[in-house]
Symmetry: C2
Subunit: 175 residues, 2 copies
């Protein structure tokens, strides 16, 4: 491995109702808040799950493991215009790391039941971080600008219909 | 590299006022909202920065590149009790990925000026994601539980004094 690279190892798998990318995967977990799943930590990471049950929400960090493309300009699911990938949450991005905020329903050993999953079943987990509004949210919502996404996140579409509709769609070439 | 690992490559560096881990590094960016820095994307990623100027806040994903320890039980900076690492934001964690929400002050080519940095200068950047309250925040703040952190994030300590005080402290052995 070149010295300018880091080797990352999955610490578990995320189980979701979405067997493939064509299986109604929500484009964002918060847009499918009732979509239930589970984080299954590998047994050797069990000790890391202590104290997690005190938190109502966590960020899951994971690897977009399907596909190998890492693009800089993409047409996002919600848009028809090419955008710089760092202004999007598109999966085909440098390093292919995903971040999703989920609700914790319960912790049982190495299994964390969660709500609001938007991953394909079996997605490799890289980290779990507790959600702390003081660290992770902007208190003054009126001061937040969301660029090109603004019309899409302001309720133009119903949350639960904003999904990728097919594998072709998900993996499509749009540069 | 084993087949169960992913090779990640830095896409840039984060410049901050904190030359070393002993240099008053805030424990969280939102607790030092005026701490200014810059993201310097490597030139080959320039196209990815388009459209970023429309967003007021972004998440920076980065590698905790100092130290090699990856622990499962840690004593957090804010606490004196050992905790499961996934209930903390401690740097010495599996895969050592950090996530910090920062305010965007301006975008100039491959340089993104930001406020609220809590990294050591030169920290390798892995990704930039736009902050979208609809995706990343829990609307009903009263429904959020923050476990063991609750007394610490509810204003017990002044934000700008919650810093790591020394390199020894930052790297200390607390298992």
């Amino acid at each position: 491995m070149p010295s300018n690279e880091y080797a990352l190892r999955p610490i578990g798998r995320i189980r979701t109702p979405h067997a493939t990318v064509s299986d109604n995967v929500p484009i964002q977990g918060r847009m499918a808040p009732l979509s239930e799943g589970a984080v299954e930590l590998f047994p050797e990471y069990a000790a890391g799950a202590c104290d997690l049950e005190g938190f109502s929400h966590v960020f899951l960090l994971y690897r977009f493991h399907l596909g190998t493309d890492e693009r800089l300009t993409v047409v996002p699911y919600m848009d028809t215009v090419p955008r710089g990938v760092f202004s999007t949450r598109f999966p085909h991005r440098p390093n292919r790391i995903g971040v999703t905020l989920v609700e914790v329903l319960g912790v049982d050993g190495t299994t964390v039941r969660v709500r609001g999953v938007d991953m394909v079943d079996g997605t490799p987990l890289l980290d779990i971080k507790p959600y702390v509004p003081r660290f992770d949210a902007v208190e003054n919502v009126a001061s937040v600008r969301t660029g090109w996404m603004t019309p899409y996140v302001n309720g133009v579409k119903e949350p639960d219909v904003v999904r990728t509709s097919s594998e072709t769609d998900w993996l499509r070439e749009r540069r």
